[in-house]
């Protein structure tokens, strides 16, 4: 299989890179000095693209790779892949569901605790020597707070299960109400935001969910409300979020994703009611290895004519 060309869209994982190098003819797109030139030269040998949450396969790239058969994403999110184009051309698409569900859900709750209990801010307080001069302020209890989840899929459900262990009443919004669901459904995100203390974004990014967190939702969440985003940056109207936080119209935020990663709005750096993580939702050794194995497994299956492990298209 080492003659099969695989184009890796961006750096994502050293182990995955090594394994792809061993098994295929690997092209690292980010190291290419002139992309059009490169594509002219090598497009004919590229039969697979490996993408991530950072870069995938848009219409332009797909058009430039006439022999592309499969796009295997090192992520569960598919927003960087033109799924319509793939369907049109019969290109298979796989992602990495399930293996990262728990890590992302764990981090969502970790962010709730970090924001409400000011864990990061008080760690900074101790490190700066301020504790010797006085006690840290009161923080807010997490147990029992109402949690609203946008998107009750695998990740949303896992978040709900964890929050329940803290006696948090759970409510949600999703495209359709789930039958036999014990959590309270709200037909709109604004209503959900008006009725919860902590709002967590856990849905996929699609044209419909872009900026699902807008000014109206932020206002509904209010000066005591907290937003947790472990979805995608474009879920949130970031300038609105920033001004709400800076002006105190929103109580706090725990963010793992941003509209223009890796840029994080600097205005947020000085706020202690905000926790800013560099997109580490699935960032554990165990899970990244499992994700890499899924990418490799899907590619192997495809090129040996076996059923794909986690196909989307």
């Amino acid at each position: 299989m080492d003659s099969i060309g695989v184009l890796m869209a961006c750096p994502m994982n050293a182990y995955l890179e090594q394994e792809l190098e061993k098994r295929f003819r690997l092209f690292r797109f980010w190291q290419v000095p002139q992309k059009p030139q490169f594509l002219k030269e090598h497009a004919a040998s590229i039969r697979a693209v490996v993408g991530s949450s950072v870069a995938g396969a848009d219409a332009e790239l797909i058009e430039a790779l006439p022999r592309l058969e499969i796009v295997s994403s090192f992520s569960v999110g598919l927003d960087k892949i033109d799924l319509g184009k793939c369907r049109e051309k019969g290109i298979r698409v796989t992602n990495t569901p399930d293996v990262l569900t728990e890590d992302v859900a764990d981090l969502a709750i970790g962010l709730c605790l970090a924001v409400l209990r000011r864990i990061c801010a008080s760690d900074k307080y101790v490190r700066s020597g301020k504790w010797k001069k006085g006690d840290f302020r009161l923080t807010t209890k997490f147990t029992g707070k109402t949690v609203g989840i946008i998107g009750l899929g695998r990740i949303g459900t896992a978040i709900a299960k964890r929050a329940e262990a803290f006696n948090c009443p759970i409510s949600y919004n999703s495209r359709t109400e789930k039958p036999d669901c014990k959590y309270k459904y709200y037909p709109s995100v604004v209503e959900l935001a008006s009725n919860c203390h902590i709002l967590i974004v856990a849905c996929p990014l699609t044209p419909e969910t872009r900026h699902i967190i807008n000014r109206e939702v932020i206002d509904a969440l209010g000066p005591k409300g907290v937003l947790i985003n472990i979805g995608r940056g474009p879920h949130v109207d970031e300038p609105e979020l920033v001004s709400a936080l800076v002006e105190g119209r929103l109580g706090g935020a725990g963010l793992d994703v941003y509209e223009h990663e890796p840029e994080v709005p600097e205005e947020l750096f000085g706020l202690e009611n905000v926790v800013l993580l560099p997109h580490v939702g699935s960032g554990t050794v165990e899970t990244r290895n499992a994700m890499a194995d899924l990418v490799l497994g899907n590619l192997e299956a495809h090129f040996t004519n076996k059923p794909l492990l986690t196909p989307v298209v």
Binding site: L107, A114, C120, W131, K132, D135, E164, L276, P278, V285
Partner: protein, 336 residues
């Protein structure tokens, strides 16, 4: 004090007698932080308002009339103090911990003791879980990294370690320990514990000594109280048994861990990480820890939310009212 025929010499109920005198060793911060007044159903004796030093104050007629003592975790209730206040039948502390009270002497004298009961246990358990997640998933460290603008540069931040499947040992399966266990189960952790005795109605595996617990766990969460047996119970040996990737979280008391040994092991890379709300010599934190990215440091604030403090204030008042109405205490400290 007038007696009432149907009470057989027991004191009359609260509403039919002058407010019982309660010796207040220190104004409880829980009330002052929330701007809550102390109830006027009791007559609080405030030694700091007297020109007399405490020792002399305790000999005064005023003090000797005290029927109860309200203390915090900072001011000791000693055998000597109890000897000098023969009217005291109840000690209420605003803390969960009891290491500042001579409980044995209270028992000998038939004095009831009430503490913070369950008022704090949820907040403390929440912080324990928050600290564990932070250490394993490098939450505070990544937040620092992001705020330096480092993310805009090259590296992928160092990967954390998955919570699910971790074997977590709870040291002290009391009110707080049980709540920590319940929360961690939801994250897919395998919980086991060490306590003075195995708990009969609990399904978590019990280990009779803390070293054995550590050998079989990836992380320890210290939830027990501080007393003679638990002082420096977490030794170098116990921490080494936890392993190079091992994590310790302490929301009990600093001196339960041999802090010097723990710091050395962290610096040498023999212990994976630590989440600490308590230290041996607060507010001093060992300098070496301030330079480490694999520790999360919290300034002993596990109980400081308005919710917990308010619950505690309610509990203190209700305990006093119950006692003086001959009703059972809400959070009695019982013999185990």
């Amino acid at each position: 004090m007038t007696s009432h025929p149907q009470n057989d010499g027991a004191p009359p109920p609260l509403d039919r007698r002058p407010p019982p005198p309660v010796l207040l060793l220190r104004h409880p911060t829980q009330f002052s932080v929330l701007d809550r007044p102390l109830p006027d159903t009791f007559r609080f004796l405030k030694p700091w308002k007297s020109p007399l030093p405490l020792g002399d104050f305790l000999s005064s007629a005023d003090a000797r009339a005290a029927e109860a003592i309200l203390t915090s975790g900072m001011t000791p209730v000693t055998a000597e103090m109890l000897r000098r206040l023969p009217g005291v039948r109840l000690v209420v502390t605003t803390s969960a911990g009891l290491e500042h009270i001579d409980v044995a002497e209270c028992r000998r004298r038939g004095i009831a003791v009430a503490n913070a009961g369950d008022a704090y246990s949820e907040d403390v358990a929440d912080l324990a879980v928050g600290l564990l997640i932070d250490v394993l998933r490098k939450v505070s460290a990544s937040d620092r990294y992001g705020r330096r603008g480092s993310w805009s540069g090259e590296g992928e931040f160092a990967l954390g370690s998955k919570l699910g499947g971790k074997r977590v040992g709870i040291v002290g399966l009391g009110r707080t320990g049980l709540k920590v266990a319940k929360r961690l189960e939801a994250f897919g952790c395998a919980v086991s514990y060490n306590s003075r005795k195995a708990k009969p109605y609990v399904s978590y595996p019990f280990h009779s000594n803390v070293c054995e617990l550590a050998t079989n766990c990836d992380a320890l969460v210290i939830c027990c109280g501080l007393n003679e047996e638990t002082h420096h119970m977490i030794t170098r040996e116990v921490l080494l048994a936890l392993g190079k990737e091992g994590v310790v979280v302490n929301i009990g008391r600093g001196s339960i861990i041999d802090e010097k040994e723990m710091v050395q092991l962290l610096v040498q890379g023999e212990l994976g990480g630590a989440g600490l709300d308590v230290f041996e010599n607060e507010p001093n934190v060992p300098e070496e820890l301030l330079a480490l990215d694999n520790v999360v440091l919290s300034p002993h604030r596990a109980v400081f939310t308005p919710e917990s403090l308010s619950d505690l204030c309610d509990l203190v008042i209700r305990n006093l009212e119950a006692f003086f109405s001959n009703k059972p205490l809400l959070s009695p400290v019982l013999d185990e």
